[in-house]
């Protein structure tokens, strides 16, 4: 690992800042529990009777996560967990609000899934004391990801929801394997690229200002491209397709430091997308709706969901109608893909911008961990996890607000959906682990194999 650490060389040591994390967590809990109370007030006119139980449960989960971090990852970034707690709490409140309108019980299940997520978060931190261990599982993870992605296509196992074949049935549970696969893919890509980055970066020919890689190095890229297009074609899932391929490009670029990959990759993606547009009606349909949603309002498949979401967000305006005061239940699947529409309607532009900023904070803290990380594997993984979050947020919020064509993806931590929530909690655990390793003081290098001359300088530089 050749990347240098100026901070470490100068003897700078990150503070643990666990107290700050606890303070921020209290703020985050205030958001979550306050929103839950506001939902009860807005919809039923009273603070929910179970506010203490609910608040206590939520606080126990979050504080439990904090305690685990305090003990096993004391130097981890102090902002990530509070931001995630705030988003998760807000999501629960909004799902609860939609439950009250629709008579569903998604919030209850989501709380269960959150518990599973937090437990897995803790388990990840407890078991995985050094993220580099994961590099041993490069190909296992890659194989696992491919199996998960193929799962929905297996007859009898996979099934279709809203035209996208992205679900598998596991006993009583429906699982969206794509959400789990994205974590495995980040691990697999990181492990693969750490080993092959030099070959990918240095070998090859230069053609028209672009350094093209050797043919055999192109293999994994073409394979990933094929997988992405396969998802697009066979599972009709534009969002995941864009997400996985974009993730791969970002990691490839970071690993090789060659912008040429972005050019090649983007060309491949847009070329594939253009062909898909020509060939597949559902892709054309999505694009047409994106260009003029109001024209397809009454058609089927039409833009009813998108336009209702847009109407809701416009109706919300700057400050929103207030929790419980709008009609976000008019939007189909408001609790999952369109939850940002519900937030836009009831919490307004203010709420939407706050949520986007929170996501921005997660991505920023993750990339910061990548920058200060001392090992290439950690850098790649942190960048990959940040990239996958950023892309997912962009694709889903951009789709719902008609910045880009609508594709089905969950909004991390907010949307109803067990697979997504659990996977994202694990992502945060991995990021905390990487940042803990990165911010931890450099281990005392006055080891035995150093020369005595250098040892003397090391002693002088013992921090504080």
């Amino acid at each position: 690992m050749s990347s240098s650490q100026p901070g470490a060389l100068m003897g700078f040591v990150h503070r643990r800042r666990r107290g700050a994390e606890l303070f921020l967590l209290v703020l985050a809990l205030t958001v979550g529990i306050g929103a839950y109370a506001a939902v009860g007030l807005g919809v039923e006119g009273v603070v929910p009777a179970d506010i203490l139980g609910y608040g206590g449960g939520l606080a126990a989960l979050i504080i439990g996560a904090h305690v685990v971090v305090r003990f096993v990852a004391p130097y981890a970034d102090p902002v990530l967990l509070p931001v995630v707690a705030a988003l998760n709490g807000l999501g629960l409140a909004v799902i609860r609000r939609l439950d009250l309108a629709d008579g569903t019980t998604f919030a209850q299940q989501q709380l269960t899934w959150m518990t599973v997520g937090v437990v897995l978060f803790a388990v990840t931190l407890l078991v995985l004391r050094d993220h580099r261990v994961l590099s041993r599982f490069t190909y296992t993870a890659g194989l696992g990801a491919i199996l998960l992605l193929l799962g929905p296509l297996v007859p009898g196992l996979g099934y279709e929801v809203n035209g996208a074949q992205i679900w598998v049935r596991l006993g009583p549970f429906g699982l969206q394997p794509g959400e789990v696969a994205k974590v495995l893919l980040v691990v697999a890509f990181s492990g693969y690229l750490v080993v092959h980055r030099d070959a990918l970066a240095l070998a090859g020919r230069r053609l028209l200002f672009v350094d093209l890689p050797r043919g055999r190095d192109l293999g994994p890229i073409l394979a990933m491209w094929a997988v992405s297009l396969g998802i697009l074609v066979f599972q009709r899932d534009l969002g995941s397709s864009l997400l996985f391929f974009g993730l791969f490009l970002v990691m490839l670029y970071v690993a090789t430091e060659r912008p040429g990959w972005l050019v090649v990759g983007s060309a491949l993606f847009f070329g594939g997308a253009a062909v898909a547009y020509k060939l597949f009606g559902h892709v054309q349909n999505r694009v047409n709706i994106w260009l003029d949603p109001l024209a397809y309002f009454d058609e089927s498949p039409g833009s009813g969901q998108l336009v209702e979401g847009l109407f809701g967000m416009a109706w919300g305006g700057l400050i929103g109608r207030g929790l419980g005061q709008g009609s976000p239940e008019r939007v189909p699947y408001a609790e999952s893909d369109f939850i940002i529409g519900a937030i836009g309607e009831e919490l307004g532009l203010t709420g939407v911008l706050a949520v986007i900023l929170l996501y921005g904070l997660i991505v920023e803290r993750a990339l910061r961990s990548a920058v200060v990380s001392r090992d290439a594997f950690g850098k790649l993984m942190a960048t990959g996890l940040a990239g996958v979050l950023a892309l997912q947020v962009f694709v889903v919020i951009g789709g719902v607000t008609r910045l880009i064509p609508l594709t089905g993806l969950t909004t991390p931590f907010l949307s109803y959906g067990g697979s997504s929530l659990v996977a994202n909690w694990v992502i945060i655990a991995l990021l905390l682990r990487i940042s803990d390793q990165a911010r931890r003081p450099v281990p005392d290098l006055s080891a035995t194999d150093e020369s005595p001359d250098e040892e003397a300088t090391q002693v002088v530089k013992i921090p504080r």
Binding site: V250, F311, A314, L318, S327, G344, G360, G387
Partner: protein, 489 residues
């Protein structure tokens, strides 16, 4: 690897800034466009589920919002639906009419005049209910008008309008056939659609507010306007002799088509007293007078009473009563007896009578007397407004004299009230179509010396043999009942 990570950071920053810029455009700059889209049900439902203010007649609500236990929270109800349907209009999920529509900002609570009150309510944590609207309607007069018109039979189509001459307040306004606005305000939206489609498809047009939305030839009641023009011209007073005779050949015409007669009433020979001409509703006299004063003076006089103009500001939409422009001499002769292209709403003919009753000054008619807060505090009282001076005070006196004579000795006698001087005029207008019976009109005011009420009655059709249709016989008793209801309070 840190350089590409920083590049990726910038790329992510661009993504998030794009998201925020787009959200700002959507929810701030483009929001009003989306809110105005007719397919945006949120905006409609929001208006639909507020506690609207009441529409009041006297101390009783004729439209009010009642809390109900469904998702719209309040149901609009009309306690006296059939009698007040065309005044209140209806408030349905899909559309609104009448005062529900014209006063919607007040009723729904969006009007600026309610703002301060609502701010106080907000601070004191009261509900943000809409304001109330107090109508000018006199409950007794409205009841008399409704009963009188309904008494003509189940299939009657017609209207009664009563106006307070000194202010322009509309005291009664009935239009038949009527409908039940409760059925259109229902929260069962499929039933509302079906009811609306049924009502809209009916030949007798129950949704049409005949008081202000339908113009018909006013027939002989328009002779008041002709007489006004003749007296204003200075050539005649009420005591003068006017042209008479059994028949009158319109200028520039030859033969029967241009020949006007009096359907057997006694209209003398060459000249007769003005009073007799009015009493007997002499077509020959008024056709001649109209030709004499000319098309220009007739048009001016008609417009001074409100023809060819919009004047209703708080109730609508209003059909404009028509007096033809650029009529030639024979056409002008026909306009003098309320035929040719002359068309008037019942409200317009009530305004003619009211203008004469109010010393020649026509007041702007209005139906909303007060705007009140949800707590019934008066926020604004409508001020009466001079619409125009139709005739001089002397002319108004002469016309009153002619109209009183018409009730005392002539065709308008069914409207006579013992002990009170009543001024009136009948009309039986040819519909112009063979299969459509004539329209019966009656307009009057009382007491003649100090008028409290002016009335117009219009019967478009009823289950009555064609030969018996006459303004005096059908309209007179209704007008009398309405006038009595106002005077005897």
């Amino acid at each position: 690897m840190n350089k590409p990570i920083r590049t990726i950071s910038v790329f992510c920053l661009i993504l998030f800034v794009a998201l925020m810029a787009n959200a700002t455009y959507l929810q701030f700059f483009n929001a009003s466009n989306l809110d105005e889209d007719p397919r945006n049900r949120r905006v409609i439902e929001a208006a639909y589920s507020v506690e609207r203010g009441a529409i009041l007649v006297g101390r009783d609500a004729v439209a009010e919002s009642e809390p109900v236990d469904d998702k719209y929270e309040y149901l609009r109800t009309y306690p006296m639906p059939l009698m007040y349907s065309h005044l209140t209009g209806y408030f349905s999920f899909f559309s609104q009419t009448g005062v529900e529509q014209s006063m919607n900002p007040v009723l729904s609570g969006e009007d600026d005049r309610l703002f301060v009150r609502q701010l106080v309510d907000l601070l004191s944590n009261k509900s943000d209910a809409g304001g109330n609207v107090q109508l000018t309607i006199d409950a007794g007069a409205q009841q008399a008008a409704y009963d009188g018109l309904s008494a003509l039979g189940g299939n009657v189509r017609g209207s009664v309008v009563a106006v307070e001459p000194a202010t322009g307040k509309i005291l009664a306004a009935v239009s038949l056939p009527t409908y039940d606005p409760n059925n259109l305000a229902s929260h069962d939206l499929t039933s509302v659609s079906r009811t609306y489609d049924d009502l809209a498809a009916r030949d007798d047009e129950p949704l049409l507010n005949r008081s202000i939305q339908q113009t018909l030839p006013p027939g002989s009641t328009f002779k008041l306007v002709t007489a006004a023009a003749a007296i204003e011209s200075g050539a005649y007073t009420a005591d003068d002799q006017v042209p008479g005779g059994a028949s009158y050949q319109l200028p520039e015409t030859v033969g029967d088509t241009g020949l006007i007669d009096n359907e057997g009433r006694d209209c003398g020979t060459t000249t007769i007293p003005f009073e007799q001409a009015m009493e007997q509703s002499c077509n020959t006299t008024f056709a001649a007078l109209a030709v004499e004063v000319g098309a220009e003076a007739m048009l001016e006089q008609a417009e001074a009473f409100g023809f060819n103009q919009r004047y209703l500001e708080d109730w609508g939409p209003q059909a404009v009563s028509v007096f033809p422009e650029d009529a030639n001499a024979p056409e002008t002769g026909q306009t003098g007896i309320g035929q040719f292209e002359v068309r008037a709403t019942p409200l317009q003919m009530a305004m003619v009578a009211a203008g004469i009753a109010n010393d020649g000054v026509v007041k702007r008619p209005y139906v909303v007397d007060e705007i009140q807060s949800a707590e019934y505090d008066v926020l604004e009282q409508t001020e009466d407004d001079d619409f125009s001076r139709a005739v001089s005070s002397e002319t108004a006196e002469d016309l009153t004299q002619l109209m009183v004579a018409t009730v005392d000795n002539g065709t308008a006698s069914p409207a006579a009230i013992p002990g009170i001087a009543v001024a009136g005029k009948t009309g039986t207008a040819q519909s112009g179509q063979d299969d459509v019976p004539p329209y019966a009109w009656f307009t009057s005011f009382a007491p003649a010396e100090n008028p409290e009420v002016a009335v117009a009655v219009m019967i478009e059709s009823a289950d009555i043999p064609r030969g018996e249709i006459a303004g005096g016989q059908l309209g007179g008793p209704i007008a009398k009942a309405v006038m009595e209801a106002v005077i005897n309070q």
